[in-house]
């Protein structure tokens, strides 16, 4: 593919996305809830597509396909364990949604601060989210940079890809906040799954003679790729280290847990959940089969992350279709980045700025939030420029770091004895442990940083909570309201 083709495809994508973002402004009111939560009135189908596009990023078609190429079927296992982790939405989703409406929460960390009656809990959890999600966004930017560079044979430099991605994400997030993000996400989700599925089927049928042949060749030439630990990459420690952070992703990552405030009703939330499960299953299968196809067709790649760009450059893939898939992968990354930017900016504004300057009105908070979108994007860009390590590892490192918030979130809904000191200490100490282990690469007992970070933060949360005084009145009111309403909505 030449550079002109790649640029043209990106131009068409930009025009379509901007049109959709612009149309989404219709009927938009003023205020934080309107801008950051689309007025808590989102339709289930749009919510499902947006949730899918936000969750699934460039990691799937680049990183997961690469992991399948290098490590085999374990990649499928860990990604499907992630999908099964949506069971947390079944239990936490109605709870988030109910208290969000009742107490007018905009961010998940605002809920923690109010539930534990401490603004410092909101501040420290919001800071932790920024600390871990900026590298995660950077990973997405890197994915775009590698992809454009690879597909154009180097004609489009890595840095140009980064700049294009940052500009698109910021622009679409700013147009109408959650509305423009959700509507452009929906368009991008459809593009992602349709384009990737089409080319995967083309590669399997035209390049390999069908699924039967693909698996016959895998069983004959690479039987280990169909087992774990297989080629050796997926030891059980690695498998757990990858799976655990992803299992908790739906509550630990604020850009998705904030989505639990957004559906218009619980029935719409259910549509969001089921829609996402269908999307996730298809997209996971496509990404893994893509990696397996690369294993058979391109056995000698220098780097696993090159599997997708090299596969797209094969003569069996018509250039136009290759371009559409490339745009689909870029879309996967952009739709993740703009959602993260939007969520982080709402947290900086609501949980950090508003807590430090309590007299700031809603208009000022909104302005601060909007200003943060480009600033956070620049931070992610600077991180991406460093091009650290393998995409999958960095992506998981971010999720592992966010695991430290899980005990405080669980306690907010299920443990009246949880305290602000417990939530504060577990996030802080767990976060430090996670960063230290990530930075040094130390894996005590062979276990990954996420496992240790979660274990430490659970222990600290319970121990410190038991040693300090809980907000008895707030806990009783909060949990009592939930118990009553969950019964009314027949949710468990």
């Amino acid at each position: 593919m030449n550079a002109a083709g790649v640029y043209s495809a990106m131009a068409v994508y930009f025009i379509l996305g901007t049109l959709v973002a612009w149309v989404s402004r219709k009927g938009m009111g003023k205020g934080m809830v309107q801008y950051f939560l689309a007025n808590r009135a989102m339709d289930g189908v749009v919510a499902a597509l947006s949730y899918s596009a936000t969750t699934y990023s460039a990691f799937m078609m680049v990183g997961l396909a690469g992991l399948t190429y290098a490590g085999g079927v374990g990649a499928l296992g860990f990604e499907l364990i992630y999908l099964s982790g949506l069971v947390l939405v079944v239990f936490f989703g109605p709870r988030f949604w109910l208290v969000g409406k009742r107490y007018n929460y905009v961010t998940p960390t605002e809920m923690l601060g109010d539930r534990y009656q401490s603004k410092w809990v909101a501040v420290v959890t919001a800071v932790a989210a920024c600390l871990f999600l900026i590298p995660y966004s950077a990973v997405q930017l890197m994915g775009i940079g590698y992809l454009m560079q690879g597909l154009s044979g180097g004609a489009i430099p890595f840095m140009t890809g980064l700049v294009i991605a940052v500009l698109l994400a910021v622009f679409w997030a700013l147009i109408a906040g959650m509305r423009s993000v959700a509507w452009t996400d929906s368009l991008q989700a459809l593009l992602m799954v349709v384009a990737a599925t089409t080319v995967m089927l083309l590669v399997v049928y035209k390049g390999l003679g069908g699924f039967g042949n693909l698996f016959t060749l895998l069983e004959r030439d690479y039987p280990k790729s169909l087992t774990v630990p297989g080629t050796g990459y997926f030891t059980w420690q690695t498998f757990l280290g990858l799976s655990l952070p992803w299992f908790f992703f739906s509550i630990s990552n604020p850009q998705v847990s904030q989505r639990l405030y957004v559906p218009a009703s619980l029935k719409q939330m259910r549509i969001m959940l089921v829609g996402f499960l269908i999307f996730g299953f298809i997209y996971t299968m496509v990404s893994v089969l893509w990696g397996f196809s690369a294993r058979v067709l391109l056995p000698d790649l220098a780097k696993a992350d090159l599997a997708t760009p090299t596969l797209l450059a094969l003569p069996i893939v018509p250039p136009l279709l290759g371009l559409v898939v490339m745009v689909g992968i870029v879309a996967a990354a952009i739709s993740t980045i703009d959602s993260i930017l939007l969520t982080l900016s709402s947290m900086v504004s609501r949980d950090i700025y508003h807590n430090l300057f309590p007299r700031a009105g809603e208009d000022t908070q909104l302005l601060v939030g909007k200003l943060c979108i480009p600033l956070l994007a620049v931070a992610a860009f600077l991180f991406a420029r460093q091009q650290l390590g393998l995409i999958a590892t960095l992506s998981v490192a971010a999720s592992a770091g966010l695991l430290v918030m899980v005990p405080a979130i669980w306690g907010a809904f299920f443990w009246s004895r949880g305290t602000a000191a417990g939530a504060f200490a577990s996030t802080l100490i767990g976060g430090v442990v996670s960063l230290y282990l990530q930075y040094t690469g130390w894996k005590p007992l062979g276990l990954w940083p996420g496992l240790w970070a979660l274990g430490v933060s659970v222990a600290v949360f319970v121990a410190v909570s038991l040693a300090t005084r809980p907000p008895v009145q707030r806990a009783a009111e909060f949990l009592g309201y939930l118990e009553e309403e969950l019964g009314r909505h027949n949710a468990i």
Partner: protein
């Protein structure tokens, strides 16, 4: 509290208990499913280099998990 009040309160308490029991049962079953999702491919299926091994197992695991989530949320009402 009058007689009606007591009856309403005891009905709510009974409902809360039933919901709590349902929640515990699903968590237990789902937890078991997750343990199997990690243990089986690393033990019983570790030597089977065919698509009918871990590949098929994980697909079936995901489908069972999806069905469980659909069932649990089926009773949600507005």
């Amino acid at each position: 509290m009058n007689g009606n009040g007591y009856r309403a309160e005891s009905a709510r308490a009974a409902y809360r208990q039933a919901a709590s029991a349902r929640r515990r049962a699903w968590i237990l079953l789902y937890g078991l499913l997750l343990v199997l999702a990690v243990v089986v491919p690393y033990t019983a299926l570790a030597g089977i280099g065919r698509w009918t091994g871990a590949f098929l197992f994980w697909i079936l695991f995901a489908l069972v998990a999806v069905v469980a989530m659909v069932l649990i949320t089926a009773k949600w009402r507005d």
